[in-house]
Amino acid sequence: MIRFQGVERRFGEVTALAGLDLEIDTGELIALLGPSGCGKTTALRILGGFDRPDAGRVLVGDKDVTNMPPNKRDMGMVFQAYSLFPNMDVRSNVAFGLRMRRQDKEKRLKRADELLELVGLTQTADRYPHQLSGGQQQRVAIARALAIEPTVLLLDEPLSALDARVRTQLRAEIRHLQQRLGITTLFVTHDQSEALSIADRVGVMQSGRLEQLDTPENVYRRPATQFVAEFVGAMNRLPGRIGDNGQVQVLGQRLSVLNPDGYTSGAAVHALLRPEVFAVVPDSAGPGEVTDRSFLGSTVRLEVTLDGGQKVLVESPSHDAGIAPGDRIALRILADSVIVAESHPEVAVRA
């Protein structure tokens, strides 16, 4: 179990972490997600020992490691930038951590070969880092981090320098390895699909604070705050009014409100709705017109302009979307509950 307790870190005027509390269970993979500057990398660097907090502490098990130097922490880290040592071949890179632990040569090279087999790179053992592709380099970096049998694996946006296909593939491999070895992992990323697909729990951060820590499904479907709702996935803001029974009326439909606190009956709000919760039906007397259409393969993304000028982003399965720009349509909301936010009329659609 890893615990951040009230961890604060400031860089001059900028507050990178404003009292972070976070618990990571043993064997769990937590992804920290947020825009750049939200403090996610600072949190990771503090756990790795590369940075020290101004206040608060970090515990691994019951041990306070706040002031422990990185070389004593037994944590494997994979970096965003390619971090293999250019002067060593792949095998020596993987064996480096064991060499620092004074394990004898034969043993550590054998272990390095085992790990290279684990990441499927046995044939590259004698090559040098510059002879490998980006994906291979990051795989070796993962093998190197795992070679020391770390208590925690730290992943600092390890996939962001790779192309889309390798990224998806390696993402799955990392998750598979992590589950197979049961290693506690902290994964930092700004890519929401990465975070949602890989993690047991996702922590969404903003301005040095954890906005929500929950399963990927809940972060997406039941965002705790407006920031989480709008940062993770595309989101429509549709004007509505809170009714007497605590429901909100949007596009003529009544939906229950997930976050009713602070909103009084009759208040004008914005309902936050994902593009995929709408069903569109061609209807010449419907209240909206399709103004743009992009085909995304499995889905079609439509921009619908309602008669009042309000734009709605809709994503529907591509097989039943024979709708072209200029068509009149009717919209129906498929969800029965919704999160609401204060009215900010200037922001209508946020993709």
């Binding site: 790795g48 020992g49 590369f50 130097p69 990185p70 070389n71 004593k72 922490r73 037994d74 944590m75 494997g76 880290m77 970096f79 930038a81 390619y82 971090s83 293999l84 040592f85 250019p86 002067n87 480096f96 951590g97 620092m100 632990r101 004698d126 090559r127 040098y128 510059h130 002879q131 970096a141 190197r144 981090a145 020391i148 730290l154």
Partner: protein
């Protein structure tokens, strides 16, 4: 599969078109464009060669001229038999090697520390390391002389009695403008922070990180700094002669004053050859690093 097949075919077709039609006219234009500059380039190269190699050849010829008017290697033979030259050469080589080592031991960790922890100090470093060029060596020698005069007995015994202990610190300072820039360039070329973080994360201490990770990756830059320092130590004459130490360059001047001009010039030739060898070694090592890497690709 069929898509990749088509893609490959089209790519080959394009390459084929380029090979058939593209390069020919371009090559002709290039040749015409190149024509005149090439004449200039060759002319300048020849003039520069005459300018630089001419005096060297003349000096070499002069060094072969013996007292009896014939040509031979007598002057070079005298260098070996002259014990004063031999001992001054030993002293200078000792000074050079130890200074080069001191320079690296001080400079490399300092630059790493500034880059990682105090990047704001970089302009200060630039300025401080330039001081030895700004302040004339004569001024430093004068300062050292004053220090020598007022120095307590133990310091004279410990430091000033031998050129090695007296001159090494000053040469290390004199070499700063070159050594700092050489090593700093090497450090800038690697992703220092990531490499250091990775190494520390894997359990390496600071000293292991410096020796096993940073040093091998800035090896060429460090060698460059060391060779420049060695060249400086083998050529510095002002401070050494003002402070009356008998180093190799001082001995060279002394020989000339004693009208052993031939021997003195022969010595210059050897020094020059030595420096050339160092530089060749450096570029050879730099190339071997790249060469080895590309050989291993195959």
């Amino acid at each position: 599969m069929s898509f990749t097949g088509m893609g490959g075919f089209r790519a080959e077709e394009l390459v084929g078109q380029e090979l058939a039609g593209g390069p020919l006219p371009t090559a002709g234009v290039r040749a015409r464009r190149r024509g005149r500059p090439r004449v200039w380039r060759v002319t300048i190269f020849v003039l520069a060669a005459i300018f630089f190699v001419g005096p060297l050849l003349a000096a070499f010829k002069f060094s072969l001229l013996q007292d009896n008017g014939h040509y031979g290697f007598a002057n070079y033979g005298q260098i070996l038999s002259n014990s004063a030259v031999r001992s001054s050469l030993t002293t200078s080589l000792e000074i050079a090697v130890i200074t080069a080592a001191i320079v690296v031991i001080l400079m490399l960790p300092t630059i790493v520390w500034v880059r990682l922890r105090q990047p704001k100090l970089t302009p200060v470093m630039e300025l401080v390391t330039l001081l030895p060029i700004v302040i004339p060596p004569v001024v430093m020698a004068a300062g050292l002389e004053v220090l020598q005069e007022d120095a307590p007995q133990w310091m004279i015994k410990l430091v000033f009695n031998h050129p090695l202990t007296a001159l090494t610190p000053f040469y290390a300072v004199l070499a700063m403008p070159f050594s700092y820039r050489a090593i700093d360039t090497g450090i800038r070329a690697i992703d220092l922070r990531t490499l250091v973080d990775a190494s520390r994360n894997l359990g390496a201490s600071w000293s292991s990180t410096l020796l096993r990770v940073i040093l091998p990756n800035v090896q060429t830059a460090v060698l460059g700094a060391m060779f420049l320092t060695v060249a400086l130590c083998l050529g510095e004459v002002v401070i050494a002669s003002l402070l009356l130490y008998n180093t190799f360059p001082v001995e060279m001047v002394a020989l000339r004053l004693q009208s052993h001009v031939g021997v003195s010039v022969a010595l210059s030739m050897i020094t020059l050859l030595f420096t050339f060898l160092l530089l060749f070694l450096l570029s050879f090592l730099a190339q071997r690093r790249h060469g080895a890497a590309s050989v291993r690709v195959l």
